[in-house]
């Protein structure tokens, strides 16, 4: 009985059922496979999250993003600059209560170094409907190299709770051919 002590005091010496040994071996091998597949994807896969991160003060990051937006602004939508950076240029996205700033216009099939950081609380970069989800922290500037593979308008929602305006926090990336 599982609720009373084992009858055989030397239970460690009892033989193990074949079916149990078989399953332990299968499960262990499957675990090994899943472990090595994560490593393998860094070599064979096209979707790996960069770990390139720098410490930065919120004020310094805000300044960098403002300079970037001013330099490559092409238009304005509801008071927010629409920025079209040249291909290969560093791109900055700022998370704050409660917007992703500025709006971006990228080219399909081109790679961009995207910088992400927050100047207040934690936020969650959630690109839809692509479904790429990345945590954004204040004080940490993360750089990912992103290559859009389809054209169209893509929304950015916030999926890390950031206070009462959390559900109003959005942004946009437009991808053109």
């Amino acid at each position: 009985m599982a609720i009373s002590p084992p009858q055989n005091r030397l239970w460690w010496n009892e033989p193990i059922e074949r079916v149990e040994i078989g399953w332990v071996v299968v499960a262990f091998l499957w675990g090994l496979f899943m472990f090595f597949f994560m490593i393998a994807w860094h070599f064979i896969g096209g979707q790996n999250l960069s770990t390139e991160t720098y410490r930065i003060t919120p004020a310094a990051y805000e300044q960098k993003v403002a300079t970037f937006a001013e330099k490559y602004q092409v238009s304005e939508e509801s008071g927010v600059p629409v920025v079209r950076p040249p291909v290969g240029e560093d791109v900055f996205i700022l998370a704050r209560l409660w917007e992703w700033w500025p709006l971006l216009e990228l080219k399909k099939g081109q790679s961009y170094r995207i910088h992400l950081s927050s100047i207040d609380w934690q936020h969650g970069f959630s690109l839809q409907p692509v479904n790429i989800n990345i945590s954004v922290h204040p004080g940490y500037e993360q750089i990912i190299t992103l290559t859009p593979t389809e054209a169209g308008d893509f929304g950015i929602a916030c999926n890390e709770y950031c206070g009462i305006g959390h559900h109003m926090m959005t942004g946009r990336i437009r991808v053109v051919e």
Partner: protein, 575 residues
């Protein structure tokens, strides 16, 4: 000095009052029994509060209903997490720890007065945090990530609760020492106690992590500490947040074994394999903090891979082993009980009308298929990008904590009531249906939230229509459908939950007393549960049904794993 110790412990042992359970023959310490009752009652109270909040959350996220205004939604969601994930589950776990030590070992409980002090601390802490939440300026979610700040007594309540729980865990360890010293049992501790010991060891790690991060955060909220690093907070906080879910796993797996023994006389196929599986939990489960940092800056890929996989999935291996040994033990017992036809007569003729059995089996199946598989997929370094912080995450952990742990604890209650409270379960017909109702609802909310998350619906989000946003856009309509179905499933789960509360409270107050007379139990124990003469590892037996079940599980696992890789390979390139 030795002489003083002996006489002192002799005195305490002599003072302890026992009764002998007429159903199981177990020797029950009255002091332990009272403590188990108090902790179980507190657990049910917080389940009622937290469960109601959960229903309000689900009804708000049901797009067609959208019940609460945004301020209330975030407030209630914060309270829901704290009340059910911490207070309900940990109060019940303390009850299980006292049961698995004092009652199963036939021992007196160590220092009952200190155990009562621990209980008072836990109640005080839980109430303090609830007050902070309801005052409205601590809607920071259960995770309370800085730099967002709650009132100081939000953190203080959690700290006091954790201190109380830690003392409770200490009482469990002390009771093991007392039982061993006073030789109340022979040989090794029972498997269920061993599982509870696993849970207790993990609890020490968990509660220590909580103290390490919540104490400075509390000081920060008082203005005494200048800054809490958000990334550091996440690493250490999840040492509590995720590891506490591993206490649940160890505890509810123990409950599965216990109910198997009580209802059909199941015994482990092999003590060695089942105990090793528990040992793997102790060694590897604590690495799970990484599950919450896979999509975060600052951590290396090596750190993520090693930690998220619990070092090559060795803790997952523990759960996979229980996934075979629990149904295997049930099948072996049923075959011994005479249900030997075909592959599945043992399962068809299982006591499905006994809510303890049906709840346990549903918990086992849903924890494996829903919570377990989704957990591994979600915790895979790159696949996490697809679901991180979407409502897939709550989908996963409702599969583990609600369909798994909560349902298992509900099932166990149907034996806690007659054996500890000594009251027969009232409304047996309704009780028979309760696990199915709650299980169906819990399975539904898990699956529908996972579906919605796969379509990009964010978690902890008041308005997925994004109507008031500056740059609105449309989330897929399938996501809205899923959230509606989630609302329906939540109503079913709530009906099952309310029924559970009514039956439990009703039984405690008005159930037929079992301590007088010879009345039988409405939901009987297996005849072998009452005799401890026949125990130990089970002799060799063929288990075709279990092999089929486990094969189906494994195929689903592999298939779902690769479907997600396929999905990942189709998104934008990222490096």
């Amino acid at each position: 000095m030795t002489a003083i110790d002996v006489s002192h412990s002799g005195l305490a042992a002599a003072r302890a009052a026992f009764r002998t359970c007429r159903f199981t023959g177990l020797k029950v310490d009255i002091a332990a029994q009272r403590l188990i009752m108090a902790n179980a009652v507190a657990a049910v109270v917080f389940l009622a509060v937290g469960g109601l909040m959960g229903l309000l959350v689900a009804l708000t996220r049901w797009p067609a209903v959208h019940l609460l205004p945004s301020e209330w939604f975030y407030l209630v969601l914060t309270g829901h997490g704290a009340n059910v994930l911490l207070f309900w589950i940990i109060f019940f776990e303390i009850a299980i720890l006292y049961f698995a030590s004092a009652v199963l070992l036939g021992s007196r409980i160590a220092t009952p007065k200190i155990a009562w002090a621990a209980f008072v601390l836990m109640v005080a802490g839980a109430i303090m945090t609830n007050v902070a939440v309801f005052q409205g300026d601590s809607s920071v979610m259960f995770t309370s990530y800085p730099p967002m700040q709650a009132s100081p007594h939000f953190y203080l309540g959690l700290i006091i609760f954790a201190v109380g729980a830690l003392i409770g865990v200490g009482i469990f360890f002390a009771t093991l020492v007392v039982a061993h010293g006073e030789r109340t049992y022979e040989g090794s501790i029972p498997l269920v106690t061993f599982g509870a010991l696993t849970a207790a060891i993990i609890a020490v790690f968990t509660l220590a992590s909580g103290a390490i991060i919540l104490v400075p955060t509390w000081l920060w909220s008082l203005g005494l500490v200048a800054e809490i690093d958000p990334l550091m907070y996440k690493v250490v906080w999840w040492g509590m947040g995720h590891s506490s879910q591993q206490i649940n796993v160890a505890a509810h797996v123990s409950v599965w074994y216990a109910i198997g023994a009580l209802t059909i006389g199941a015994k482990p196929l092999s003590e060695k394999v089942s105990r090793t599986a528990f040992l793997l939990y102790i060694l590897f489960l604590q690495l799970a903090s990484a599950h919450h940092l896979l999509a975060d800056p600052g951590m290396s890929a090596t750190w993520k891979i090693v930690n998220t996989s619990y070092l090559m999935y060795l803790a997952v291996l523990g759960s996979l082993i229980h996934g075979l040994t629990v149904p295997g033990a049930l099948e072996a017992a049923q075959r011994r009980n005479g249900y030997t036809k075909g592959a599945f007569e043992w399962l068809r003729k299982a006591p499905w009308g006994n809510p303890a059995f049906s709840g346990m089996f549903l918990s086992l199946v849903m924890f494996g298929f829903i919570g377990g598989i989704s957990g591994v997929v979600l915790g895979t370094e790159q696949l996490n990008l697809l679901m991180h912080n979407t409502i897939y995450v709550p989908g996963h952990f409702h599969g583990t904590v609600v369909a798994g742990t909560t349902l298992a604890f509900m099932a166990m209650t149907y034996y806690v009531l007659p054996l500890i409270f000594q009251r027969d379960v009232i409304w047996p017909k309704l009780a028979r249906w309760q696990p199915y109702l709650f299980g169906m609802g819990a399975g539904g909310i898990s699956l529908f939230m996972m579906g919605a998350g796969t379509l990009g619906v964010p978690r902890r989000h008041w308005d997925i229509t994004l109507t008031d946003a500056m740059h609105p856009f449309d989330l897929p309509s399938g996501g809205f459908l899923m959230m509606g179905l989630n609302g329906l499933a939540a109503v079913i789960a709530a009906a099952g939950g309310i029924l559970y509360i009514l039956i439990t409270v009703g039984t405690v107050l008005w159930g037929k007393r079992l301590d007088k007379g010879e009345a039988p139990l409405t939901f009987p124990l297996h005849k072998q549960a009452a005799t401890v003469a026949e125990y130990g590892s089970h002799a060799t037996v063929k288990l075709p049904g279990t092999i089929i079940l486990v094969s189906v599980f494994f195929l689903s696992f592999v298939l779902y794993y690769f479907v997600n890789w396929k999905y990942l390979s189709e998104i934008w390139l990222l490096r």
